[in-house]
């Protein structure tokens, strides 16, 4: 099963990261310098000291970045580990542990110049050998790494001098740079990893702004300031405590009562109310908004009736009013979607319009598909209030043209299992989004993603060729052209009926300063301080 899926407003144990858009930074601007890098804060001068309390939507299950498969882990990783590269508030790739890099002209060698004078929390020096060790660890067939697939084109990683590393690829692979801004780019201490083996998740050691103190499952993770952090003068906070609140209402209530300083997933149905509450005099909290990074929609199983019939898939999609779902059902906490690329991602194409609902056209398509009177089908979804509201809206929209949906609610793990066995006709499963567009589309509509991503069972040679080409192209604008072509084909074939993209929200206390809301939705704390 897949590592990252978003199914509804509040999401699941797996990758439920939400990514926000690069665009709307206004709210973040109120709290910190918009778009600026952390170094700016070092001079800006925040307060030293204090404990920051973070409310997460679920308990981070695994603190080893090379084995983690839950999105929520990554919120903790941002403080515990540094990555070879990072993304800034505009989703541009910026240096982190790699001070600079270059790509060879054939696109098959990636050379990294590493930052000097960095050490892990246990005192192990960070250098080329450490990077080589990390890649070996992720690629070791005997080590059950969750990262291997992300770096599968890597054939060798070689230290050419103490602070230079060459990553050699079997073919040009443009998504690699963004991959290194995420878990595959997080460097663990070789000494600590060798010593702890499979227990490394219990004693994690990185180079991050904060070092590990303790983790009590289902309760909290405590991190302490790293006094030797390589960004001079940072971090400001003495301590960070992450606590998990799986219940949406409880998480919001804890922030409102001042028991938390920031929470990571704001339930969409409450956004309107929270926005109003935040404006009340004396409200100690603020809602930060971003564009969208995640998407949600309905898989139509093309391997069996009724959706093996293209005209019926088109009829289904045409009968849906996406704007009403975003604005009425989700009360404006989402944008309507008609592609795999939300407006916060680099491949977003603003010329791509949301087609209006057209019941007459839907009926024509039904006739063309040989079911003029409509048809029945089962629609599977994960539990949740928001999910159910959306499913019922879709049910009544398609019901008007004669498509009778039977809604079936399944626990998320069971839903994925059922769908990966292709026992469904239609099912609603979304995706949390990735900075590189490749991970938003490739496995979902190609053969390689069957059965764990491509729940339509959809295969199309033209789509496959275009997406393979996009992986080789180094220039993003060229890639975007390929993605737009693919999107056009998909809009006609309709294996996945896109519905909406949730906006990225963070609810923060007004005491929290210096926070930069980055499009990937990650809570980065090295530049954050608490106003007294």
């Amino acid at each position: 099963m897949a590592s990252s899926r978003a199914t509804r407003g509040r999401i699941t144990r797996r990758e439920l990261l939400r990514y926000g858009a690069a665009g709307a930074l206004t709210a973040a601007g109120l709290l910190g310098a918009p778009g600026s890098m952390p170094m700016a804060f070092a001079q800006g001068g925040g307060h030293r000291g204090g404990t920051l309390r973070v409310g997460l939507d679920s308990d981070p299950p695994n603190l080893d970045p090379h084995r983690s498969s839950a999105a929520v882990d990554r919120q903790v990783f941002q403080s515990l580990y540094d990555k070879l590269m990072d993304t800034d508030a505009n989703l541009k790739i910026v240096p982190m542990l790699a001070a600079s890099w270059s790509v060879s002209s054939d696109g098959r060698t990636f050379t990294l110049k590493l930052r000097q004078g960095v050490q892990f929390h246990d005192g192990t020096p960070f250098n080329a050998q450490a990077v080589v060790y990390n890649f070996d660890r992720m690629r070791d067939p005997k080590f059950p790494s969750a990262r291997r697939s992300e770096i599968s084109p890597v054939t060798a990683v070689v230290a050419t001098d103490p602070y230079t590393v060459e990553i050699r690829l079997e073919r040009p692979y443009s998504p690699l740079a963004y991959t290194l801004t995420d878990r595959a780019g997080m460097m663990v201490s070789p000494a600590a990893a060798q010593k702890a083996g499979l227990d490394f998740a219990l004693h994690p050691v990185g180079t991050g702004a904060f070092s590990f103190v303790e983790k009590i499952p289902q309760d909290h993770v405590t991190l302490r300031r790293n006094p030797n952090y390589w960004m001079k003068g940072l971090p400001y906070l003495d301590q960070v405590i992450f606590r998990s609140f799986p219940d949406d209402n409880a998480r919001v209530a804890n922030l409102k009562s001042g028991d938390l300083d920031i929470i990571n997933i704001v339930p969409p149905p409450q956004v309107k109310q929270i926005t109003q509450d935040a404006k009340q005099p004396g409200a100690g909290f603020r809602l930060l908004e971003h564009g969208a990074f995640a998407y949600n929609g309905i898989w139509l199983n093309v391997t069996k009736p009724p959706f093996d019939n293209k005209a019926l898939r088109q009829a289904f999609s045409t009968a849906i009013d996406r704007t009403a779902i975003a604005n009425a059902v989700l009360q404006g906490a989402a944008y309507p979607a008609y592609s795999f690329f939300p407006n916060g991602t680099p491949a977003y194409d603003p010329s791509w319009k949301i087609p209006p609902r057209d019941p007459a056209l839907a009926k024509e398509k039904l006739q063309a598909g040989g079911h003029a009177g409509g048809f029945d089908c089962t629609f599977m979804m994960a539990p949740g209030q928001t999910n159910l509201a959306i499913a019922q809206a879709v049910q009544s929209m398609v019901g008007e043209v004669g498509i009778q949906l039977r809604i079936q609610v399944l626990e998320f793990g069971t839903l994925l299992d059922t769908m990966s066995k292709f026992q469904h006709q239609a099912g609603m499963v979304g995706w949390s989004g990735r900075p590189d567009p490749d991970f938003d589309i490739y496995p979902f509509v190609t053969k390689s993603g069957i059965p764990d991503f491509n729940y339509a069972g959809y295969v199309n040679d033209q789509v496959q060729n275009l997406l393979d080409a996009a992986r080789v192209l180094q220039d993003m604008s060229q890639r975007v052209r390929a993605y737009s072509q693919v999107t056009k084909i998909l809009a006609d074939d309709m294996p996945y009926a896109w519905l909406y993209c949730l906006k990225e929200y963070k609810l923060v206390s007004t005491k929290m300063r210096g926070f930069v809301q980055v499009p990937d939705g990650m809570i980065r704390l090295h530049s954050v301080w608490l106003a007294s």
């Binding site: 099963m1 897949a2 590592s3 990252s4 699941t12 144990r13 797996r14 679920s58 308990d59 299950p61 695994n62 603190l63 080893d64 084995r67 498969s69 839950a70 067939p141 005997k142 059950p144 790494s145 969750a146 990262r147 291997r148 697939s149 992300e150 599968s152 499979l198 227990d199 998740a201 219990l202 009590i216 499952p217 289902q218 309760d219 909290h220 606590r243 998990s244 609140f245 799986p246 219940d247 209402n249 409880a250 209530a253 804890n254 409102k256 009562s257 001042g258 028991d259 998320f412 793990g413 069971t414 994925l416 299992d417 059922t418 991970f439 496995p443 390689s448 993603g449 764990d452 991503f453």
Partner: protein, 307 residues
């Protein structure tokens, strides 16, 4: 108890293995290559036949090895033992809350039968029974944490670490669980009390000229409480189930939250550990209830005794 535990272990294992979803696939990332999944399945022992997995599990337990979490290789036994005091304390506190409300209310309702007091108490009990745990929990948070700011909205401090903060953290979750339980106990106590109050020995006591309160407390209550204890024993299971929801809302790091997270993450060894300990707890409670019977009513003898 041993045969019961054996059957429980079989049932737990079979049920958990019936949950759809492959733990190994669940942990590995996108486009996970088949060999990586195979390696993880091997590491987790999932490539073995189910009966071998079961025998390994039971065999390990007999040696005190309850296995390791699939998620982060944390030992199951240590984790469960760490959670037991938390849920245990929550359970005991809920019982105290329930008793403190239900015993006076139930006795009073029975004593003042068919009066406003009686109807009022019964109506309150009906409301208590009908309120869902999670709703009550959220409402308490909004009232006491968000508006009045008297109590922390959630979280946990252990009793040994800071008793005051422990009690403050415990107050709301224990009240939520206790209120629902109080309703059940109060209704049970009222009906058994009504029965006892019409018994001959109560009439005799009254005839001797004892004061009403003394009759109710010393004579009637002690006899009326036996069926209530049975109900309490049964309710302990419900309490553990309710703790799952209450712990989630109040972020109390107990067995309930551990169970929920283990189910969602398909962390089989951890889930098996939690369920087994819960089953053990219920068995122990039932035993305790039997013992308490004989303490309260000497006419009831423990098994093995002769009457």
């Amino acid at each position: 108890m041993i045969p019961v535990l054996f059957f429980v272990s079989v049932i737990i294992f079979v049920l958990i293995n019936l949950i759809p979803g492959d733990a190994a696939r669940l942990f590995l990332g996108e486009e996970a290559p088949p060999d990586a999944v195979a390696a993880l399945r091997h590491e987790l022992g999932l490539d073995q036949p189910v009966y071998v997995q079961y025998l390994r599990w039971v065999g390990g337990m007999l040696h005190g090895d309850f296995g390791y979490s699939f998620k982060d290789h944390r030992p199951v036994l240590a984790t469960v033992l760490e959670k037991i005091p938390v849920t245990g304390e929550l359970t005991v506190a809920s019982l105290l809350v329930a008793w403190a409300i239900a015993i006076p209310a139930g006795a009073l309702a029975a004593w003042r039968q068919r009066t406003v007091t009686d109807y009022g108490a019964s109506a309150a009990a009906l409301v208590g029974l009908s309120i869902p745990n999670f709703w009550l929990g959220i409402m308490l948070i909004y009232l006491f944490a968000v508006h009045l700011r008297w109590l922390p909205a959630s979280g946990w401090t252990s009793l040994t670490h800071d008793p005051v903060r422990n009690v403050r953290a415990l107050a709301m979750p224990a009240s939520v669980l206790g209120l629902v339980l109080a309703a059940v106990v109060m209704r049970q106590l009222r009906s058994s009390m009504v029965e006892v109050l019409s018994a001959d020995f109560v009439r005799t006591a009254k005839a001797k000229g004892l004061a009403g309160g003394v009759v109710v407390i010393r004579h009637a209550l002690r006899n009326a409480v036996i069926p209530v204890i049975t109900v309490m024993g049964i309710q302990m299971g419900t309490l553990l189930g309710g703790a799952v929801i209450t712990e989630t809302i109040f972020a109390v790091p107990g067995l309930g939250q551990l169970a929920v997270n283990s189910i969602y993450g398909r962390d089989y060894p951890m889930l098996e550990g939690v369920v087994l300990f819960s089953a053990l707890a219920i068995l122990v409670i039932n035993l305790a209830v039997d013992i308490v019977y004989s303490l309260i009513d000497p006419r009831i003898k423990l098994a093995g005794g002769r009457s």
